[in-house]
């Protein structure tokens, strides 16, 4: 039995989160300017391996926008091998000082989840990013619930970054799909600031299905709504989509 005060506290936090998300819906990604809610578990999905870098970029952005530093980044050897290693100068270019980052490379998914639970329990951290490639063995409702509870107790932003993995039921507060979007070209058709297509696949206690296109602004450490060029995505998704199950929502692009 939870203590009444703790319960009230948790309800209040959930309510606060819901309000933030409501605002976000009105203001095209306004919620994201402040990053993901602390003390919660969030899932970020990059649907294919080619989108892994976008997933990582979005996760970094979320942590920085929430001001949730330092960051503990957990990766598997497989991710390190297939996706390349995290590159210091590139992290600086995203606005993340590598001095605020500890990278842990583990052997397999179960070690990853175990280290993630340890990290989520550490009140000295701002964000824990656990990056898993493919079907994560051992990730089930119990494991994600454990991460969620640990994050609630410590106040850490717990991000489960999943690359090319199947969506499984989890205790996460929000679940996002992220894909790269064409950037706004600079002079001489040079690629501009990182841009992403986001879809809120699920959020606890509120409708989901919203899509945004955002651009990461390193100087203000926030996501700006990106002016859409070409095909416009609906800013407010159809409400019917909100109730659909979180199982595979979108095929590989």
């Amino acid at each position: 039995m939870e203590e009444p005060f703790a319960l009230i506290d948790r309800l209040r936090r959930a309510a606060c989160l819901a309000t933030r998300m409501e605002e976000g819906e009105r203001g095209t990604g306004d919620a994201l300017t402040r990053g993901l809610a602390p003390a919660q578990l969030h899932e970020i999905h990059a649907l294919s391996q080619g989108e892994a870098a976008s997933g990582a970029g979005f996760a970094i952005g979320c942590a920085l926008a929430a001001g949730a530093r330092p960051i503990l980044w957990l990766r598997t050897e497989a991710a390190e091998r297939q996706g390349g290693r995290l590159h210091g100068p590139g992290l600086i270019a995203m606005g993340l000082d590598p001095a605020d980052l500890v990278v842990v490379v583990v052997g397999d998914d179960s070690a990853l989840l175990r280290a993630a639970a340890d990290g989520a329990r550490c009140p000295g951290l701002g964000t824990v990013i656990a990056e898993g490639w493919g079907a994560m063995r051992g990730l089930d409702l119990t494991a994600s619930r454990r991460l969620m509870l640990a994050a609630e107790a410590s106040g850490v932003v717990m991000i489960l970054l999943r690359v090319a993995g199947q969506v499984v039921p989890s205790a996460a507060t929000t679940r996002w799909a992220v894909a790269p979007a064409p950037s706004r070209a600079l002079a001489a058709d040079a690629p501009g600031a990182p841009a992403y297509d986001l879809e809120l696949l699920r959020r606890r206690g509120a409708p989901a299905g919203t899509r945004w296109r955002v651009e990461w602004n390193r100087d203000t450490q926030s996501f700006d709504p990106a002016p859409l060029s070409g095909a416009r995505l609906p800013l407010v998704a159809d409400r019917a989509a909100a109730d659909r199950p979180p199982a595979p929502v979108r095929g590989t692009r």
Binding site: A53, A56, G88, S183
Partner: protein
């Protein structure tokens, strides 16, 4: 010794054939010769260096095993590790000897005789033959152990009675000594040293001086003794891991008090568990910050034990547990915890220690800047417990898009450039990992020349880097390896991915 190693390590080889003489053979310059013999083989008239064919002809029942000097060296190392129960200063004397500095250690066993008896009984239980000798110098001790002469009333007397072979001179000098009628070390010592040096070489004189202790031959221990070490011996071996951890905590408390007196904290802690049957298990934990908190240490040791590939096996129990502080640093009596930041940093440091102990220190890293313009060398991955080197990152200009990728491939991955290129432009289309990418936006080239000063003989080709974005928004960092003027058909690589 190799035979005893085999008997202990692989007893199944000897089931039911205890009687046969055994020899080890190795091939030397095309011929297979005997390298080591057991007493039975020696008794049958065989000697080291005999060819295998001859030996077989003389003793048909001879059992032959391949000579394995590396396994023998490893076996000796393990014995040395086990010998640390007697004294921290143990030196290897290959191929078959160990030299212990027992000064200050023998009182624990009731004097030199007691120590010798303990070693003999312990070794005999394992089936290992030992020849022990004490000496005032390491050289005297090992020579006496190897070339047991006739009994003598004192050490000097024993040395005098050793055969001249004990001087271990080369064949010519040894033969010359014997030809001169000098049979024992004492005979040689009776001559003036200058004559010996003149007739039999400087080595002979040096060997003599070493033996008599006139010239120092210092003992070089395998492991430098730790500044602080505590241990506990048990008459009744400790068989339960929990009990062992309890002892370890007590020892940590003792070490902590010793550290406190010196205003220090330990950063590297080595626990050695000496099993009653002679095996030694070593556990090491390291912390990023100096500590002397037994509870923290015990947690790390638990973590370490859990992470072991082979679970800890107490066997018949541990009869000696030793804890050494291998590395100590300044730690003031009370750590200030006024600011919240300090406590937070401490929580992170404790987490890093835990993860490092469980996963291995080098798996928990920080990324540090390094002064190199080769992208793959522009950063340094160091264990998070290590201090940062002095270097600065180059910070980007405001408003500039990321010029470096967040994921870097090392080595770069080859791509296939498909569409026609302009001489100084990126491909309009390329294939990477069996997927086609149509380039929509590009910027470059950023020319990065090889660091010619590092390899004077061969300068690696220049790389021209491009930031490209495909039609779906995926951003790549690709380069052409070599200018068109440098190579016939330069190859293309993807070196990294932008977020």
């Amino acid at each position: 010794m190799p035979i005893e190693r085999l008997r202990i390590g692989r007893p199944h080889l000897f089931v039911g054939r205890d009687e046969a003489p055994i020899a080890f053979a190795e091939s030397v310059g095309g011929a297979v010769r005997l390298a080591a013999l057991d007493p039975a083989a020696r008794g049958a008239g065989l000697s080291v260096g005999l060819t295998l064919a001859d030996a077989r002809a003389r003793v048909p029942a001879l059992e032959i095993f391949p000579h394995d000097p590396i396994a023998d060296a490893d076996w000796l190392e393990r014995l040395a590790e086990g010998a640390r129960r007697y004294s921290p200063a143990v030196a290897l004397d290959p191929p078959q000897g160990l030299v212990l500095d027992s000064a200050g250690a023998d009182h624990l066993f009731g004097g030199e005789r007691g120590l010798a008896e303990d070693i003999e009984t312990r070794m005999a239980r394992r089936g290992i033959t030992v020849r022990l000798a004490y000496g005032d110098t390491p050289e005297a001790a090992r020579t006496l152990a190897r070339y047991a002469g006739t009994p003598a009333p004192d050490e000097m007397g024993a040395i005098r009675r050793l055969p001249v072979a004990a001087l271990e001179l080369d064949e010519d000098a040894g033969a010359a000594l014997i030809a001169a009628g000098l049979k024992t070390v004492g005979d040689v010592l009776a001559r003036p040293m200058a004559t010996i040096a003149a007739r039999f070489g400087r080595e002979a004189a040096t060997a003599l001086r070493r033996l008599t202790g006139e010239e120092d031959s210092p003992l070089i221990p395998r492991v430098v003794a730790a500044p602080i070490g505590v241990e506990r011996r048990f008459a009744e071996p400790v068989a339960r891991t929990e009990h062992m951890l309890g002892v370890l905590e007590e020892l940590a408390g003792e070490a902590a008090r010793a550290l406190e007196e010196r205003h220090e904290g330990g950063r590297r802690w080595d626990a050695r568990l000496f099993r009653a049957d002679g095996e030694v298990q070593a556990l090491r934990v390291e912390t990023g910050q100096p500590t002397r908190d037994p509870a923290v240490l015990l947690r790390l040791f638990r973590e370490r034990i859990e992470a072991l590939a082979d679970p800890l096996d107490p066997g018949f129990g541990y009869d000696l547990i030793r804890l050494d502080v291998g590395l100590a640093e300044k730690l003031d009596a009370v750590q200030l915890r006024l600011e919240g930041g300090e406590a937070k940093a401490e929580a992170v440091a404790a987490l890093i220690d835990r993860l490092g102990t469980r996963l291995g220190r080098e798996r928990v890293r920080r990324i540090h800047p390094r002064d190199s313009h080769m992208p793959e060398q522009a950063e340094l991955l160091l264990p998070a417990t290590e201090a940062a080197p002095r270097a600065e990152w180059t910070h980007p200009e405001p408003g500039e898009p990321p010029m470096r990728p967040i994921h870097l491939f090392d080595p770069p991955q080859p791509i296939e450039s498909l569409a026609a290129e302009t001489p100084d432009g990126p491909p309009a289309r390329f294939r990477w990992q069996r997927k086609m990418h149509d380039v929509a936006r590009a910027e470059g080239p950023e020319r990065i020349a090889g660091e010619w000063w590092r390899r004077a003989d061969m300068t690696p080709p220049t790389r021209d880097y491009y930031r490209v974005e495909d039609v779906r928004g995926r951003r790549f960092w690709i380069f052409r390896h070599g200018l068109y003027s440098e190579t016939e058909r330069p190859r293309w690589y993807v070196h990294g991915l932008f977020a």
